[in-house]
């Protein structure tokens, strides 16, 4: 691969590279892979797997958006936020509440849920701007804990009236409505895959534009970014807004996939830490890492639990490996952040 590094720039890859390198450095390589993955997600998976695995792949598709949003903040801007699960929960709650209260089309609900999460995401980002690395992780962990407490008090809407929209008699509990064109589990799974695709494209588009370049600059050195004229505060908030929007939309997509009565378990502190752990395992720089992290967190873990480990101990062992990776990464990241301070 060193040959790739030392060759001069040109549009077509040079002929002396190995075949595999020639393929992967081709400009069309990534779009083709994206289309293949999308087609596999939309058609191959529903025809090869039963309803149990469709439910797992549904979670994978939803979680991949959340992972990509956390990876975007960490990998592209250098912000370790444990608040993405809170944004995920906010988007879920808002979408559910509006789904019961209004007749708006589901995609509109998703956008509203995402926007509310984005506004709150920016408000979270404001006080968090002064800290970085491990310290930002701690501040946002408090937020995740706060969100857990709020959700314990309010619960998720399940067809009731009033602000909370909660009914207490079990027989009155309703499932969140789905879009008319995606009523069945498989159709709704496909709807989520399309939603995830749109979110990944959005992230990819923004990353390739002015904000993406500003974030790369901030991640490298805030001092150099300021010297280049980048309004670091504004672009960090923009990153928080985009990431929270993505997680909020993911929450909205998740809302329709749950049969009856949403549990708050997916939105607690453990989930917040677990999210960062799998994101780091999946890889934080590339958006593909979001997909891989979500795969670890959902399908792979399920598969290992059932077929390989077959014992609680080994599942916990796998989880503690995620935790170890997280700690090692945060400690290293904090050291880098300290080294990067303005040279006096």
């Amino acid at each position: 691969m060193t040959a790739v590094v030392s060759t001069p720039a040109s549009s077509a890859p040079p002929a002396h590279l190995p075949l595999l390198a020639r393929i992967t450095t081709n400009r069309l390589f990534e779009p083709v892979v994206v289309v293949v993955v999308l087609l596999v997600g939309l058609f191959a998976i529903p025809s090869f797997f039963d309803s149990y695995w469709i439910a797992n792949f549904t979670q994978l598709a939803v979680f991949s958006i959340v992972c990509a949003s956390a990876g975007l903040l960490y990998g592209r801007v250098g912000l370790v936020s444990l608040g993405q699960v809170a944004s995920y929960g906010i988007g879920c709650w808002v979408t559910m509440r509006l789904a019961f209260a209004t007749t708006l089309p589901y995609p509109v609900l998703l956008v509203i849920g995402g926007l509310v999460a984005a506004v709150i995401g920016v408000m979270i980002g404001l006080p968090a701007l002064r800290v970085s690395g491990l310290y930002l992780a701690l501040v946002t962990l408090m937020l995740a804990a706060g969100m857990e407490i709020v959700l314990e008090r309010t619960g998720f809407p399940n067809g009731g009236t009033g602000f909370k929209g909660v009914v207490t008699t079990i027989s009155d509990i309703k499932a969140t409505r789905r879009p008319s064109f995606a009523g069945t589990d498989v159709a709704y799974y496909r709807f989520i895959v399309v939603g995830a695709f749109v979110m990944f494209m959005l992230a990819s588009y923004v990353l390739s534009r002015k904000p993406g370049r500003a974030w790369a600059s901030i991640r490298q050195s805030e001092a150099a970014a300021l010297a280049a004229g980048i309004d670091v505060t504004r672009y960090k908030l923009w990153a928080f807004a985009l990431a929270a929007f993505m997680a909020g939309v993911a929450g909205g997509l998740y809302a329709g996939s749950v049969p009856k009565g949403m549990s708050i378990d997916a939105f607690n502190r453990q989930s917040a830490i677990f999210l960062i752990a799998v994101v780091i395992m999946g890889g934080i720089y590339s958006l593909w890492g979001g997909l891989l992290g979500a795969f670890f967190a959902t399908c792979l873990l399920k598969y290992l639990t059932q077929n390989v480990f077959g014992h609680q101990f080994w599942t916990r062992f796998a989880l503690s490996l995620f935790g170890f990776g997280l700690l090692a990464n945060l400690i290293q990241n904090t050291r880098i952040a300290e080294r990067k301070g303005v040279e006096a």
Binding site: V5, R213, R219, A223, L226, A227, G229, I230, Y285, A344
Partner: protein, 239 residues
């Protein structure tokens, strides 16, 4: 002209700049001094990273210290850092384009032309589409200079731009730096320990020692000054 008046910076009990008063003329100016003399601190004050205890800096009629840090680039201030800060993950072109799009109001219209002109100025046109990560020390240092000259800068601060470069490349960089005032129309302040580079680039040089101005004037005269030799070099031989 950059008019620095009575500039003092204290870090706790350490006096980093001590009532520094100096006027930099237009063109390429050298700023030299032993380690810890306050050269980088002076740059950090101009960049807005350090708030001085007292003093004023008026550059081309503009009170520089009253501007928020990130807006100084839009006014026309550019700088490079001792440790090079080219953005690893971006291409050479995007590195320069990032500075352009955040420091000018002209939007996308003149972007490509301006970035290409800056890359041509430093001789990096060939590697424009390569990612910085794949490039060596020389290219990275030259990218920094391209980032500094893109747009319409008024004042460029270069903090040891040739650190780590071999002599031949330092000489090449020196030629580029020397031509900045004429080709780009900006005033340059160059901090470096390499006296031959300072001599090659700068007609005018100031010497800092313990945060105070020790001497200033035409470079050749300043380097012959006995006080400068004693403070800076510890001997009377100019290396």
């Amino acid at each position: 002209m950059i008019d620095v008046e009575d500039l003092s910076v204290h870090f706790g009990g350490v006096v980093s700049l001590d009532q520094m008063t100096i006027q930099f003329p237009e063109g390429a100016c050298g700023l030299i001094g032993p380690n810890g003399a306050g050269k980088t601190t002076f740059f950090n004050v101009l960049s807005g990273f350090v708030t001085p205890r007292s003093g004023r800096v008026v550059a081309m009629g503009q009170d520089l210290l009253s501007m928020p840090d990130y807006k100084r680039a839009r006014w026309g201030l550019r700088r490079t850092f001792q440790t090079e800060q080219a953005i690893e993950k971006l291409t050479v072109f995007d590195n320069v384009a990032t500075v352009y799009e955040h420091s000018t109001r002209s939007g996308k219209a003149g972007r490509s032309a301006a970035v290409e002109a800056a890359l041509e100025f430093v001789g990096l046109t060939d590697v424009a589409q390569q990612t910085v990560r794949a490039l060596g020390a020389k290219e990275r240092r030259f990218i920094e200079v391209a980032r500094a000259v893109v747009g319409s800068p008024k004042l460029i601060l270069l903090d040891e731009p040739a650190a780590g470069l071999p002599d031949a490349e330092t000489a090449l960089l020196g030629g580029i730096i020397r031509s900045i005032p004429e080709r780009v129309g900006a005033t340059v302040i160059l901090v470096d320990h390499d006296m031959s580079l300072v001599q090659a680039c700068c007609d005018w040089t100031a010497v800092l020692d313990f945060g105070r101005l020790l001497a200033s004037g035409p470079t050749a005269e300043v380097l012959r000054d006995r006080n400068v030799m004693r403070a800076y070099l510890g001997t009377e031989e100019v290396a």
